[in-house]
Amino acid sequence: MTVAAIVLSPADNVAVCCRTVEAGETIELAGRTLIIAERVALGHKIALMALSPGDKVVKYGMPIGSMTAPVQAGGWVHMHNMKSDYIAAHLRDAVGESA
């Protein structure tokens, strides 16, 4: 059975999903029990703890951007609630705008 998600570095506040996880699923991760808030796909990130706007998102032990909206533990962390500290990323719909 594939583990649901992995934490890449002890300093991280997000985990990476090794498979799609479903809303309401309970997973044990890095000594925590997380209740998955919403469906999160393989390769995407879930918050290990509640994060607030301005908080650094830490993965691989390094900051990969800052929160722009709050997320609860077990919630999906992606471009709807975080942003790059360097160059804005873009989605297909948002081509031509800065995200």
Partner: protein
Amino acid sequence: MIQGYLRADGRKGIRDAIVVVYLVECAHHVARRIVEAAGDPRVQLIGFPGCYPNDYALSMMKALTTHPNVGGVVLVSLGCESFNREALAANAAAAGRPVETVVIQQAGGTRPSIAAGVEAVRRVRDAADAGVRRVPMALSELVVGTICGGSDGTSGITANPAVGRVFDALVDAGATCIFEETGEMVGCEGHMAERAATPAVADALIASVEHAERYYRAMGYGSFAPGNAEGGLSSQEEKSAGAYAKSGSRPIDGVILPAEMPRGPGLYLLDVVPPGDPKFGFPNIVDNAEIGELMACGAHVTLFTTGRGSVVGSAIAPVIKICANPETYARMKGDMDVDAGRILVGEATIDGIAQEIVALIEAVAAGAQTCSEALGHQEFVLTYKASGPAGPACLAA
């Protein structure tokens, strides 16, 4: 055992391509028909579309037409474009490559030019075959490039770290390894600098990434595609951290520019971002532009990691496709040489996949076809770029 193709200039290749080169889009159709008429996967099409001259394109073509995997060259010119076909032909001839040029306006148009090109290919191939020798080639004589394309949240935790271990093993064996895309090192510059072989290289690494960030910021986009986001990556620096894992852990010996050969074995960063303010557009419009630059730096083979699933190969040098994502592999396995997603589902380790890739590099160097080769992929793209040293520190020895 790898049996390399020994060229007249002393370099050793792992393939024996004959390249048909269009020197302007106006000659593309004729060149393509010449390649089709040959009906031989060794005879491959590359070219440059623009009519205006460009030093970068000339230096790239000089490097590619004398690549160790290339045995002979046929140039196809319309006749009135700016590309310096005489300089390109002379450069290839000086490196001992049989070379012929077809000029469409002199040959009398499309049909006579195709006929002349078909004959030129036959003569060049015969001359190349008569001149080449097969000789033993060690792993340490290989130049290996790496690139990621269609990255997602799995790339940085399976395929890329596995390639990093491959690079460590190859560097330890005395081979030459090149990683690239300074725009995908944004956020990793500090860590890279700590791995620099000398303080000058550390300065060059930091300067190249700072320049890349300025350049991409001015262009309005980072090196980040919508599919990266769909695959779970949320920021440039998150993508960078995953991409950077391909470089492994050994000291970084230098920063090189497109079409510049590494000075010796070891690990090099290819700075793909042109010097100065943005000019001519994005540094590289698509993955094959980067594969072309790795080849122009001498790469015999390219390790291509993908999460979302790329299908491309390349003219001239084989591409080994390493799939990071087990779901993508299940969908696209006919295009994938290595299933690194097994790491994610606990069926393989990073070191195990790395050993598999090293064995595959040896097999491919010895002649085994990659998936993209077997499928006939021979993509190539070359566009305008500014050239010149990227900064006073960037050519540090």
